[in-house]
């Protein structure tokens, strides 16, 4: 079995004095995550940042390095084997945090890292110069540690590139300045629901699981597993009471932090303590569906 989730925290923008910063949101979430798990920053061997929309669109260095610096996860840079922090960015739209979990889980499973953080933070990169930017500023951090009998047991990523044009975003030169453009087709969400349904069905089939083998499904964006396409699903699918009622989450539209927000809510749910197998399902541009199967520790 793989790594276990030690803590999950999201952090919204609270200061009215200054604009939100993707790094500051990720740092705030990371600090509170470490505090929640009673871990010191220098326990972090691997830090992965999954944000897409960053203040000032800094492309170099990896924004994870700023988070590492501000969280003070450097530790001692002494020649101690395997105990130095490595930070880098992963980008895959709304699925980036699940990809990050897969990478950190792998390093912990292989023994290359003992603890790892997956962080994110999205903000409007160029306020006043962004077209169609729809997301609320939100940071998130998920702390992973060594598992034992519990932890992540499988990951899946399915892409439907025929829908790649339904959600695109770019930074381009307008002639006088750089502008951010987020373009989303009105059919995007309906196609996301179809793809999520298909990907989840395929995942359960490949793992030889039935819906009854799953106790809880945590999904982002909200509602992506609740609504169905016009045609009925071809295979037995999940009951409504297995899916976290993600529609109640606020703010309603967040980006890469969405899966952490849903997971944070799940941890507070009365259904979580009795759950054994929990699925995380993130859906975003591509269209890409990322799924993680997690066996929750007993305590």
């Amino acid at each position: 079995m793989g790594a276990v989730i030690e803590a999950v925290v999201t952090a919204g923008h609270t200061s009215s004095d200054r604009p939100p910063s993707s790094t500051a949101l990720a740092v705030e979430a990371a600090r509170r995550t470490l505090a929640s798990a009673a871990r010191r920053p220098d326990a972090i061997d691997l830090l992965v940042n999954a944000s897409v929309y960053r203040a000032a669109n800094i492309m170099e260095p990896a924004n994870a390095a700023f988070v590492q610096r501000d969280v003070e996860a450097d530790g001692e840079f002494a020649p101690v084997k395997g105990r130095r922090t490595l930070s880098f960015d992963i980008s895959n739209g709304a699925c980036g945090m699940v990809n990050g979990l897969q990478v950190v889980d792998g390093f912990i499973t292989s023994g290359a890292a003992r603890h790892g953080l997956v962080v994110t933070g999205d903000v409007d990169p160029l306020p006043g110069r962004s077209e169609g930017y729809p997301y609320a500023p939100l940071g998130a951090a998920i702390l992973l540690g060594p598992g034992g009998d519990a932890g992540f047991e499988a990951f899946a990523l399915r892409s439907y590139p025929q829908y790649a044009d339904l959600h695109t975003s770019t930074i381009r030169w307008s002639g006088t300045e750089h502008v951010v453009g987020v373009h989303e087709d009105s059919a995007f969400h309906a196609r996301c629901e179809e793809c999520a349904d298909a990907a989840l069905t395929a995942f359960l089939d490949e793992r030889r699981l039935t819906p009854d083998d799953v106790d809880l499904v945590v999904a982002s964006p909200p509602g992506v597993l609740k609504r169905r396409s016009s045609s009925p699903p071809a295979h037995p699918t999940l009951r409504a009471d297995q899916v976290l009622d993600a529609d109640s989450l606020e703010p309603a539209r967040v980006h890469t932090a969405g899966i952490a927000l849903a997971l944070e809510s799940a941890l507070r749910s009365p259904r979580y303590p009795s759950a054994g197998r929990v699925l995380l399902v993130a859906v975003g541009s591509g269209i890409t569906v990322a799924i993680a199967s997690y066996r929750k520790p007993r305590s």
Binding site: D74, N99, G106, S159
Partner: protein, 367 residues
Amino acid sequence: MQTERGHTMGTTTAAGAPGSVSRIEAVGLALPSGRVTTRELLDSRRHRFPLDLEKHTGIVERRVCAEGEDSLTLAVGAARNALAHSRQGASSLDMVLVCSITRWSGGLSWQLEPSLSLVLADAIGARRALNFDVSNACAGMLTGVHVMNDFIARGVVDRGLVVSGEYISSLGVNAARSMKTIASKQLASLTVGDAGAAVILERGEEGSAGIASSQLSTIAEHSDLCIGRPCEDGPGATMVTNASSLHRAAIAHSSHTIHEALERSGYPPETIDHVIPHQTSISAIKAGIRHGERKVGHYSADVVLNLAEFGNTASTTHFATLYRCLMERRFKAGDRVMMICSASGLTVGAMVFTVDEELCERYGRRD
């Protein structure tokens, strides 16, 4: 669903035995069609001041993107070139990681979503590959290899592609327009060139040589010494570098990582046959090697320089250089190679691997 790509991975041993060794199966390169000499770039400056960049860096010219070329086209070109040297097709790839700093697609339009890896995997026909983008400045490809090596070692992945396309020549264009003195923090931007590079990793036979060690560390207190972002007064990007501080920090911290990479590989320093450093400038590379050898021991039998025609091609430098070495038949089977990187972040690292007979055969055996 009409078209679907992807599959499920366990956390361990889905494909092979844990503890597997990764080997380099193929390497690819893509170069843009344009060339700009260092003299031409210096002549394009708005403010002229004495600067012998060619002598200091060893860079005579660099390749630059022309109309219709960008980060994505270079990455796709390099991936296809690697596949052309591979004995496997794209459908065999379990994983595709695009590790570019730059994400220019369709000219100087920066693609935030969807990921470049999604577009690239679709373009080359990697229909079952797990894909995402990795970004870690000039250490991007080595970070991608580091990640994929872990997936292969756990037996989760059999074969994968790490690729990057760097369209960074706009840094030089924008620096030439705004630099006023030799103390400008955009000086390093004049050294860059465009290129795409790709490497296919696969699980090696039991007991075979391959990647012996991969070490990367981020010294985040130096994270603000080199910052790249979209240009404020023109298309493309700008990069502000405190070059001397970055160079000092990189030299100070690299030797620990090199020492650890060598120790983990089990190879004594003097048995390394070739060193491929990050291609920045001749003076910086020589200073780095001198300092490293004082700390670690002699390891520089053959320091490979690829600056004269390429310049600094950011995350692609190591594998672009490896490709040239293979094409020039510089290696023989069994040669030990160490790649050394220092990148904004500050990320320092080293990867040690053995060039096997099959790889040499694919690019032509040295007599």
